[in-house]
């Protein structure tokens, strides 16, 4: 189907994958970019139409790299994996140190020896994380389809690396870049701040002066770099057109092209009267988990980061499988929670099954004409339920392990029988 022979166009294989909407619009970057450049050549601003929604920095960057696009995307994936490897390596050291401190302070109960993590078991985790990202079929798909989320993932991975290494300056810059690219990483400000505070041994108390000082410093760094990047984009194309085209597009969801998220069909079938209301509700839904999670997980900012990234990938307005690949890469870090996970078998089967059905039902709807949009929508629903339950399962397992660590592994009721743990 992909027409051959045109300069800069995708080859037949990747074209068919890229066109398949399920792996879809994290925008097929190559096509969008060539379109943007062609519009610039014709003397028309690329943002005057409704096709181009990339940021000016990406146009500028790829202006020179358009010939080597495949190589660039492979390199970004490798960079992401390397960044994650280094980050998790450092993180493991921090975890181990913290654990040792808590054991010495006698915060743990007496019979939790099984739950204590040893350096032996943590040795291969960074490698597992890197491999989990590189070999994930979702990552491969998004690399082949050349979608922007590979670049997003790289920036977020570098942001995590900078945060774990403790450099507030670099972390703020990468976070500003990530926010500039797609609006949602602004919620990662909170876990990064918590992590840096923990690293500086500043306790998170609302009355503490050092807490506010550090927070404002970090916020100032972040906001300044964001402003600098936006002004730089303005000077690149000499207009503010990109702001409604990029951010207005993300927030108001005008394009209803089917993707793996929940938004498109919802707004395709929405009554006009309620459209604005539900757009606001869905956007708030992404952002409002940050504060409660920050309150609950203030001792564990990396887990908070993981949950936040997962929430962004599930509820953002145009999700792609590349976003799913990013938070799935973190799962080996929490592999010690395996014994507390309740539904892992069903959920993994669900996710695999849905991923296999996505292209099939897409093809049946769009090309064969024998299925309806409802088939594809149903798979979207189940895939998102699977993701949500996966994240909440891990969250539950994490909380449970923390409880056991502080209260002992073998709990007994007053009459000596084995106790059950319940959320109340």
């Amino acid at each position: 189907m992909a027409p051959g022979g045109h300069p800069g166009h995708l080859g037949a294989n990747s074209g068919s994958v890229g066109e398949s909407g399920s792996w879809g619009p994290g925008e097929e970057l190559q096509k969008m970019l060539v379109e943007g450049l062609a519009l610039l050549d014709l003397g028309v601003s690329p943002y005057s139409g409704a096709v181009f929604h990339e940021t000016p920095l990406i146009i500028y960057l790829f202006h020179f790299l358009i010939e080597y696009a495949e190589l660039v995307f492979m390199i970004t994936d490798v960079l992401t994996a390397v960044a994650l490897y280094l980050a998790i390596q450092d993180f493991n050291k921090v975890v181990f140190k913290k654990q040792k401190l808590l054991i010495e302070l006698d915060k743990y109960a007496s019979d939790v020896a099984e739950l204590i993590r040893t350096p032996m078991e943590m040795h291969y985790i960074p490698l597992k994380v890197a491999l989990c990202y590189l070999l994930n079929p979702y990552t491969v798909m998004s690399c082949v389809a050349k979608s922007t989320c590979s670049i997003n993932n790289t920036i977020i991975a570098f942001f995590i690396l900078a945060t774990i290494k403790g450099s507030a300056f670099l972390s703020a810059i990468f976070l500003a870049l990530a926010t500039y690219q797609s609006l949602y990483p602004v919620t990662l400000f909170a876990p990064a701040l918590l992590y840096l505070l923990q690293r500086q041994f500043i306790p998170v108390k609302l009355k503490s002066k050092s807490f506010w000082l550090y927070s404002t410093q970090y916020a100032a760094l972040y906001l300044c770099s964001l402003v600098v990047i936006i002004c730089l984009s303005f000077f690149l194309l000499n207009s503010w057109d990109f702001i409604p085209s990029v951010y207005g597009f993300i927030l108001s969801v005008p394009d209803l092209t089917p993707n793996i998220g929940l938004f498109w069909y919802f707004f395709a079938e929405m009554f006009e009267h309620f459209s604005l209301f539900f757009v606001c509700v869905f956007q708030i839904n992404v952002f409002f988990y940050t504060i409660p999670l920050a309150v609950k997980l203030k001792e564990h900012p990396m887990f908070f980061m993981f949950v936040q990234i997962a929430i962004i990938s599930i509820f953002k307005s145009y999700p792609t499988v590349g976003d799913v690949a990013l938070y799935m890469a973190f799962l080996p870090v929490w592999s010690h929670l395996y014994r507390f996970l309740q539904n892992i078998f069903i959920l993994s089967c669900l996710l695999i099954f849905c991923s296999l059905l996505f292209p099939v039902l897409w093809h049946l709807w769009i090309y064969a004409g024998s299925a309806n949009s409802n088939f594809y929508y149903a798979i979207t629903l189940t895939f998102n339920i699977g993701q949500i339950l996966l994240v909440s399962d891990y969250f539950y397992a994490f909380l449970r392990r923390e409880y056991y660590l502080t209260h002992g592994l073998y709990l007994q009721r007053q009459d000596g029988t084995e106790a059950m743990l319940v959320l109340k």
Binding site: A50, T257, L262, E272, W365, N372, N374, S392, R400
Partner: protein, 456 residues
């Protein structure tokens, strides 16, 4: 200008009983090169020009009736008597037009008046319906004849094309005999017309009605039509409901002259054109247009506008292709029969076609019909505007029976997430205390005690 445009389209919609009030910003464009105001208009600013097409609407009897009312005699006298709807719409092609332009009132051009020109074009297929003969008559076509000329008309004429191709003068015969013969050069060919002047008294003195008849002397077994110098064909290709390609083929059959043509394409916003896939190929090689004006569409506000000036070499076929992607619309934006598809309006080709025979300068007063129908500014070429076929494109449709279901299901998924996270965030883990049992348990234990079974 947009306000005046909206008013104009609404007024015209009311006058002609046509759905012209559906013209809004989603199908209006501002062409830069293809159209120029006719008549005395001074303005060359293309920002004041608007062009809109409604490809889905068809012309019907309701549009014919107000059109006829605009004529000075209505359908009571003159040529308009022939225009009865039941025969008129029984044809292969039907077209109505109303043109208004400002012209000079007299030779010194001190005052400007408005000229209203109405045209009606009908194509009858008499070859297949007339038992294989190409004979026709006014009565056969319109089932009535002309009885008198319109008293308000200053000129009322019927022109019958009796050009003979092979210089055999006796190939056809027209009855009754015409009042005069007129020769003109139309679209590069010399044509002879038999003229019936309805206002001349000699026409109606033999019979009360005029029934022009044309008979061919020798049986015609094949339809021979000369191919026009410029013709075009447009089609959409591709399979599936995601992408597609619009291809336009433009033929220049002139043996040795090349000429430029302006192509205007208006594509609705829901077919997202990719201008980097625009290719123009002539005789196997790429042909770069000397002027491109592209205005990309904005979702739900403005259609795509693509105008190009392309040079057509002699005796060639030019293929212009552009790819597009189909968008999913909101369920209220689909027309009543969504699986019928969406229409893409015709593209417009405007060209000054070089003519084989040089045209003479004709005075507008002598033959107003020919100068307005076949305008030519200089003798060597004539102006032609071609409209290609409209296209029918299918878009992916959501299920229209599902709005409540979709809202409920999606909100359920969001609620699942909200619920699990709310539980995990606001509740803490506790060791479960064995409770004395709720009401149900106590009742069950009571019943068991009565039965003599050990309690729960």
């Amino acid at each position: 200008v947009d306000k005046a445009w909206k008013e104009l389209s609404n007024i015209l919609s009311g006058i002609f009983c046509a759905s012209l009030n559906f013209i809004d910003s989603t199908n209006t464009v501002t062409p830069t090169a293809s159209f120029k105001p006719l008549g005395l208009a001074n303005g060359t600013d293309h920002q004041l020009l608007r062009y809109a097409v409604l490809p889905r609407e068809v012309v019907c009897t309701e549009n014919l009736t107000p059109w006829k009312k605009l004529l000075p005699c209505g359908s009571k006298a003159g040529l308009a008597v022939l225009l009865k709807a039941e025969r008129l719409f029984h044809s292969s092609y039907h077209s109505q037009a109303v043109h208004i332009r400002p012209i000079c009132r007299d030779a010194s051009c001190r005052a400007v008046s408005w000229e209203l020109r109405q045209t009606l074009t009908v194509v009858y297929e008499s070859f297949y319906s007339g038992q294989g003969k190409k004979d026709w008559s006014l009565f056969k076509m319109f089932s009535r004849t002309i009885t008198e000329a319109c008293p308000l008309a200053s000129q009322s004429k019927i022109y019958v094309d009796i050009s003979a191709k092979d210089k055999e003068k006796e190939l056809l015969e027209v009855t009754p005999s015409p009042t005069s013969l007129h020769e003109a050069i139309v679209q590069g060919e010399k044509r002879t017309y038999a003229v019936y002047d309805l206002l001349s008294p000699s026409l109606f003195n033999t019979s009360r009605s005029l029934n022009v008849q044309l008979k061919w002397k020798q049986p015609q077994d094949s339809l021979e039509l000369s191919t026009p110098i410029l013709h075009a064909h447009r089609y959409v290709s591709g399979y599936g409901l995601q992408t597609g390609k619009i291809s336009t083929l433009i033929y220049n059959t002139h043996p040795y002259r090349a000429f430029p043509v302006i192509l205007l394409e208006t594509v609705p916003w829901y077919l997202r054109l990719y201008v980097h896939t625009l290719t123009i190929i002539t005789k196997g090689k790429e042909n770069k247009p000397s002027y491109i004006h592209y205005q990309p569409a904005q979702d739900r506000r403005q259609p795509h506008l693509l105008e190009m000036l392309i040079q057509l070499p002699a005796n060639s076929v030019t293929k212009i292709t552009i790819q597009f992607e189909r968008a999913l619309l909101k369920w209220t934006e689909y027309p009543p029969d969504p699986n019928h598809g969406f229409y893409v309006s015709s593209s417009v080709l405007s060209a000054l076609v070089p003519s084989v025979i040089a045209t003479k300068e004709v005075d507008m007063e002598q033959s107003p019909l020919f100068t307005s129908l076949f305008p030519s500014s200089d003798g060597s070429s004539y102006f032609m505007r071609l409209y290609t076929e409209p296209l029918l494109v299918n878009l992916p449709t959501p299920d229209f029976s599902m709005p409540y279901n979709v809202i409920c299901l999606t909100c359920t998924v969001v609620a699942v997430c909200y619920g699990s996270f709310y539980n995990l965030l606001t509740r803490t883990l506790h060791v479960e205390e064995p409770s004395k049992g709720g009401l149900a348990k106590r009742l069950a234990n009571l019943i068991r005690k009565i039965r003599g079974v050990p309690p729960l």
